[in-house]
Every structure is written in structure tokens, then in C-alpha cells.
């Protein structure tokens, strides 16, 4: 059971959690990650983000990542949501939720999906501030975190 959504619409973490929880009596562990627009990134005084993606490719790459995660860990349900378009401070950007029998698998798959989302899925963020805008640079930390999962 897995679901991928990419689009402008916001998401409801309560609803996503409810669906992860509704994955049968074998589920003992649910790990979730949510990313929010924060007030400082490459720039300070961030008031919003503009998120661009490569429609069609994005969804395929995420589906493929979920397949990889299911090969590495025992997963009972996976949900990935990524928003695009213009977002404002404190808005939700991304949700990754994983249900498994065991917490190790749930945590590992959730981190794997977030790490690879940052380095191998065609999304680009532009930071918006009062005084201008700026395409976010890929971070060395993100490359390192992505690399730790091998290929």
C-alpha cells in the first residue's frame, strides 16, 4: 500500500497518519517526517518559497524510490506528498510517512526517502524574501546524507 501525491494542494497530517495506521494488525511502528517553510535558509528573512518540479518525471522517480525502499526494508504502508508552487512561511512542503512492523525499518525507510528526495528527485526551491529571491543551492550535507544509502 503506497501513495504518492505531487501538487499545489496542502495536506492534512492527521489524515495521512490515519491511513498509515489503518494498515492492519501487523503494524507496530509509524515514522513520519514533515518539512515546513522556515524563516531562514540560504537567505534570512525568508517569507516564502516557490517550488518547481518536472511533472511526470517527479512522480515516476518517487514511485521508484518507494520500490527500492520496499526491497530494503519490510514496509506495510508508505505515503509521500510533495507540494509545488508558491508557499508561505510555516506552510507544509513535504510529508513522508512509513508504517512497518518494527521501528528500525520505519525510521530507516523514512530517512532514506527524505534523503533521496533531496538529491535525486527533480524539485527546485526558490527562496522569496522582502528584498529579492534566490534559487536554493544543493547542500554538501544533503549530498553526504544521500550518499550514505549507496546505490
Amino acid at each position: 500500500m503506497s501513495e504518492v501525491r505531487v501538487g499545489e494542494a496542502d495536506f492534512d497530517v492527521a489524515q495521512e497518519y490515519a491511513r498509515l495506521r489503518d494498515s492492519g494488525g501487523g503494524t507496530g511502528a509509524i515514522a513520519t517526517f514533515t518539512g515546513l517553510v522556515r524563516d531562514s535558509g540560504d537567505l534570512s528573512g525568508v517569507t516564502g518559497l516557490y517550488l518547481e518540479h518536472y511533472p511526470g518525471m517527479t512522480e515516476q522517480v518517487i514511485e521508484d524510490l518507494i520500490r527500492q525502499a520496499r526491497e530494503r526494508w519490510q514496509l506495510r504502508a508508505v505515503r509521500v506528498i510533495h507540494r509545488v508552487g508558491t508557499l508561505k512561511l510555516t506552510d507544509q512542503i513535504v510529508f513522508v510517512g512509513v508504517a512497518s512492523a518494527h521501528r528500525e525499518d520505519a525510521f530507516a525507510a523514512c530517512q532514506f526517502l527524505m534523503d533521496i528526495l533531496k538529491t535525486s528527485v527533480p524539485f527546485w526551491k526558490k527562496e522569496l524574501t522582502e528584498s529579492g529571491e534566490h534559487w536554493v543551492e544543493q547542500k554538501d550535507t544533503d549530498v553526504r546524507l544521500g550518499d550514505r544509502w549507496g546505490e
Binding site: 518547481e52 518536472y54 518525471m57 524539485f123 534559487w135 543551492e137
Partner: protein, 86 residues
């Protein structure tokens, strides 16, 4: 799309700096994504950044690719900056 062209797509910073989100270019015979990059860069001006300076990522038919990935007529080839989602 004519059979002897490839569709090129640009995203994010590249889309803005090249001032286009894509185009069709002729593609006769066997080529690589790197050959296409070099051909486009030879236009000069902002196009030179495709082979100089910040790295450019490549997708062929919506799958991550490398400069040595072969490109056939009819393919969709995308060039973009390193990704920053999540």
C-alpha cells in the same frame, strides 16, 4: 515533433537564465546527452553555463542520465541545476 529532432527541456535557474523552458533541436544519427550540451553551449552567452561553472544534471526520457547517455531522435532530454526539494 519531427522524427529527426529531440525535445529539450530546461528547469529552474537554467529555465530563467536561458529564458526558455524548452525547444526542439535536430538530432541526426547517434548522439549523447553530452554532445547535445556542447552543441547548445556553443551558442555562447548564457548558454556557455551548460558546460562551465555550476554542474548541470541531465534526464533522458524522464530518467536521471549522464553526459555519456545515448540520445535518439524523438527522445525528451532535460537539463537542470542540482535538485533541492524535500
Amino acid at each position: 515533433m519531427a522524427e529527426d529532432t529531440v525535445t529539450i527541456r530546461y528547469f529552474a535557474r537554467l529555465r530563467e537564465e536561458l529564458d526558455t523552458d524548452g525547444e526542439s533541436v535536430p538530432c541526426a544519427g547517434a548522439r549523447t546527452a553530452g554532445d547535445l550540451l556542447a552543441q547548445l553551449a556553443s551558442r555562447g552567452g548564457p548558454w556557455q553555463q551548460l558546460v562551465e561553472g555550476q554542474p548541470v544534471m541531465i534526464a533522458v526520457n524522464q530518467a536521471m542520465a549522464r553526459p555519456e547517455t545515448p540520445v535518439q531522435p524523438g527522445d525528451e532530454v532535460a537539463f537542470f541545476p542540482p535538485v533541492t526539494g524535500g
